[in-house]
């Protein structure tokens, strides 16, 4: 006759699990990695450098000096107005000859008017990172709002709700042309 096996006392598994839980709570971090993603320009070759002439009307220079003062296209500006100014620059709604030209581009079978505008962001060595990122953020916001407007016109939906293929089309039709210029060696540290 088989003996009855005694039940294993399971009340301590909770303790073991708590111990493990505490270990993981201490050694891990919550993933909170978010930020502004950017592509740096590659180091230009000597040959290439000459082709990169951009028409004057297609470029706007946004400068932050070492006192964190902002200049957009040679005029001093408050950061609150930067986004609207940049939107006007990129969209050029009235086809102003001083604002960037547009070219017809065929994307996935349809032609769109794509702006050739480039925003060039310059900073001093003494600019604070906070001010720099605030300006970067405004520029990205300007592009994102233009993309939203474009999506509303074309698809009747906001950019975030489009399918991936549609998002790709919008990204090509409203490119994010923000160039980070070579740093100027003015001002120390």
């Amino acid at each position: 006759m088989a003996k009855k096996t005694p039940e294993i006392n399971s009340s301590s598994t909770a303790d073991i699990a708590f111990l493990l839980l505490c270990y993981f709570l201490m050694t891990t971090t919550m993933g909170d990695q978010s930020g502004l993603q950017r592509r740096l320009p590659p180091i230009p070759d000597a040959k290439q450098a000459q082709d990169q002439k951009v028409n004057r009307r297609n470029i706007v220079i946004v400068r932050i000096n070492s006192a964190d003062k902002l200049f957009a296209g040679n005029e001093a500006m408050d950061i609150a107005y930067l986004k609207d100014k940049m939107k006007e620059f990129l969209a050029n709604p009235n086809n102003d000859p001083n604002l960037p030209e547009k070219e017809e581009k065929e994307i996935e079978g349809k032609t769109y008017m794509v702006s050739k505008g480039v925003i060039s962001l310059q900073n001093d060595r003494g600019t604070s990172y906070q001010a720099y990122l605030a300006v970067q953020n405004e520029l990205v916001k300007a592009v994102n709002e233009l993309r939203d407007e474009f999506s509303m016109r074309e698809y009747g939906m906001k950019f975030a709700r489009l399918s991936e293929a549609q998002q790709d089309i919008v990204k090509k039709a409203v490119p994010q042309n923000i160039s980070e210029a070579e740093p100027k060696d003015t001002g120390k540290k």
Partner: protein, 158 residues
């Protein structure tokens, strides 16, 4: 009153079974194991990320290399001062070490993922742009062109 267990009042209350407690705790454990990541390095610089409302989430966290820039924490200030320093992995480094750092990070990845590597710049908001520009130039020279300026969403406390 008597309808709801009035007749049972004279019985002793049955003990609560704690057998499922371990299941609950295990569930919590698995939740934390899945949502968190191992803390690889100890922070030796103070990094308070700046606020950016347009911040987007990094898609592939495993493909990022972190560069921390900020002033050293208090225990290292006696040795390194309060000037902004670069921290790679676990120690203070200079601009010249970035090349090796990027190379070693690349080596650790599989061949297909190398082009997708994002350099995550975690820079304190009070740092001057000079050191950041230097790092960016060095990254361009290493052709690690995908970068991310780490930032936090407004409203969050960290």
């Amino acid at each position: 009153m008597s309808k709801f267990g009035g007749s049972r009042n004279n019985k002793s209350v049955p003990g609560i079974s704690s057998g499922s407690l371990s299941d609950i705790v295990f569930m919590l454990l698995f939740f934390f194991m899945v949502t968190t990541q191992m803390r690889e390095t100890e922070n030796k610089v103070i990094v308070k990320l700046p606020v950016a409302s347009e911040a987007a989430k990094l898609e592939r966290k495993d493909l990022s290399a972190n560069i921390n820039i900020g002033s050293p924490t208090r225990q290292y200030q006696a040795m390194y001062g309060t000037d902004a320093r670069i921290q790679l992995n676990d120690s203070f480094k200079t601009i010249d070490d970035i090349r090796d750092f990027i190379a070693s990070e690349r080596d650790a990845m599989s061949e297909a993922d190398r082009s997708l590597m994002t350099v995550n710049l975690r820079v304190d908001e009070d740092v001057r742009m000079g050191i950041v520009s230097d790092v960016k130039q060095e990254l361009r020279r290493c052709s690690a062109l995908k970068i991310m300026y780490a930032s936090r969403k407004p409203g969050g406390d960290k």
